[in-house]
Amino acid sequence: MTAWIDGQAADRNEAVAAAAALLAGARSPLIAGLCAEVAAVQAAFDLARAIGASLDPAAGAALYDDLGALAAGGAMTTTPAEARGRADLVLALGRAPWESGLMRDLAAEGPGRGRAAGRPRALLSLGGPGDGAIQHVAYPVDEAGLPAAVGLLRGLVAGRIAGTHPLADLSVRLREALYGVVLYDPAETGALGAEMLNGLVKDLNESTRCFALPLGDPHQGRAVAQVSAWSTGQGPRVGFGRGTPEHDPWRFDAQRQVAAGEVDAALWLASLPAPLPAWTRTLPTVALLGTPKGGEIGGDAARIVIGVGVPGEAFGAALWHPRRAAIAWQDPAPGAEPQALPPAAAILADLLARLTAPATGGPASPPAARSADEPTAQPESPASC
């Protein structure tokens, strides 16, 4: 089964028509999740522009901890591949790096390229649980927490705090490294901590090389940030209510908008696994859910549920590649049946065509024919407050 309306199995075409009807009359529609291949995310931005919707990726909160720090003060970052090739020191902040698998890769070899080539690689942990199988030096974080410890380390590195201190030795190691890498998860450091560690990295670059390496989120957030940048010039929490993209991380936070009762219809896009928020069952919602081969999705996830193909499994797709820290093409799984389920991008394009069709009820016009900045789907009721 691949489509449901009100929990009842339905023809896919009927479900798409019902989805278009659900979104057509909405005052403030929301397109959330965006845990999908680049083509589908791009199609979601196109649809949002046409119907005046706002967008927020499932990865939103943690992504904005990093984007906020980036927008405020910039960042000097590297990629996992560069870190493996060049780093003679890796500092893991908190728990997340130890759960990422990257620490094992980094422990397996020393730097083979660049100025630190041939040196041993030191693995250091600040406030992390460590891993018994990986040789590393652990520095504790007291009850003040990780962001406070990062600030303290920055003060020590810059020489503004002197004297004996448990982290003084760590600051010396960072200064003496030829190519240091600070590995962190913005969800764990928070926006203030991320900005502080970017400052630490910049301070170190006064005398040596050091880079920040944020762990990607598992929900395509980094790819969504890029699609949003090339589609709107801004971060992914944008709204098209007034025609042009408005970037407002507070206003377009999906969780906040739904809790405040500001959303009257929603589309949840997750062709890859993402935790389903509770509101998809309470708000009039269309859910496009990736259905793995031989797997099942629940038809009760939302008022309208449409199964879509899993990118990189059912069909080839551009997805976030965590190792390369870039969008990369992923081929389908061997033996995939490409036509078994449509890609989410096709459903979204179908919705766009239906919602931008002339009001006379004539055939749908191709999306390319419309002006990019004009919301063409008109509200049904006249303006009233």
Partner: protein, 265 residues
């Protein structure tokens, strides 16, 4: 006095930025009613949501306000705006002068980038009051922000100039401050995280960061001058400044030219 009266709870967030006495002066009530305030594709106008009554004076009253009204008083240059009720985010954003008063509470980023004038919030203010919005150079930037109730976390986040007085504030008050002054009866944990310069004064505070260093007890003339200037705005804040103070210097993680004063009990 001109008055805008909200007819009913608005069905979407409204943007009242730029609606101030000087901007309305040359317009008729019909023209003002046609000004766009909606944020959805419905294209709501002021007249759709408010009863408009203008008299050309430099005072504007907004009656029946709710937390869905964003950017109230944004860009105000002169005159007076009095709000009866609550407001949403970015109250008085980029304000340059005049006075803005809210009888209820304010959403986040009240007074962001405000360069002049006085903002009074009788109730509470949500997070980042006087704070910078995403990617902005500065939060409060020279204006005066008075919060009668409780301010949320990150009060005065990246503020660059001006004065904030609040009764209480959450965690990270004065985070990333560039300069300016914050006075509160009580502030939460880790005040001044990443502050470069600026002054925090609080009768009580939560846990201090390890990057703040005590620099002794002080009786500074500048604090007495500040107390005198605060007398008219907030007698409680002025009284707080007259006590003998213990001074902490920070945040040594960054430039470290900021300071936290707390009465030396």
């Amino acid at each position: 006095m001109s008055t805008l009266t909200l007819r009913e709870a608005p069905p979407e967030r409204l943007d009242l930025g730029g609606l101030h006495p000087a901007a309305l002066a040359g317009l008729s009530e019909t023209e003002v009613a046609r000004l766009p305030v909606g944020t959805s594709r419905r294209g709501l106008t002021l007249g759709d949501c408010f009863k408009v009554s203008l008299d050309g004076s430099d005072e504007l009253r907004i009656v029946g306000a709710t937390e869905r009204l964003d950017r109230v008083g944004a860009g105000l240059g002169a005159g007076r705006i009095v709000v009866e009720g609550d407001v949403g985010q970015r109250l008085g954003a980029g304000m340059r002068g005049g006075s803005l008063t809210v009888s209820g509470s304010a959403g986040p980023f009240a007074g962001t980038a405000a360069r002049g004038g006085t903002i009074r919030i009788a109730g509470d203010a949500a997070e980042s009051a006087g704070g910078a919005v995403h990617g902005a150079q500065a939060g409060l930037d020279g204006a005066t922000l008075l919060i009668g109730g409780v301010a949320g976390d990150r009060l005065g986040n990246r503020m660059r100039a001006g004065l904030i007085v609040a009764k209480r504030a959450g965690t990270h008050a004065g985070a990333r401050m560039i300069a300016g002054t914050i006075v509160a009866e009580e502030i939460g944990d880790h005040p001044g995280y990443g502050m470069r310069r600026g002054t925090l004064i609080a009768a009580r505070h939560g846990a201090l960061l390890p990057t703040f260093a005590e620099t002794g007890r002080q009786d500074l003339v500048v604090l007495r001058l500040l107390a005198r200037s605060l007398e008219g705005l907030s007698p409680e804040a002025a009284a707080l400044l007259r006590a003998r103070q213990r001074r902490y210097s920070g945040d040594l993680a960054t430039l470290g030219k900021g300071e936290l004063f707390t009465p030396a009990g």
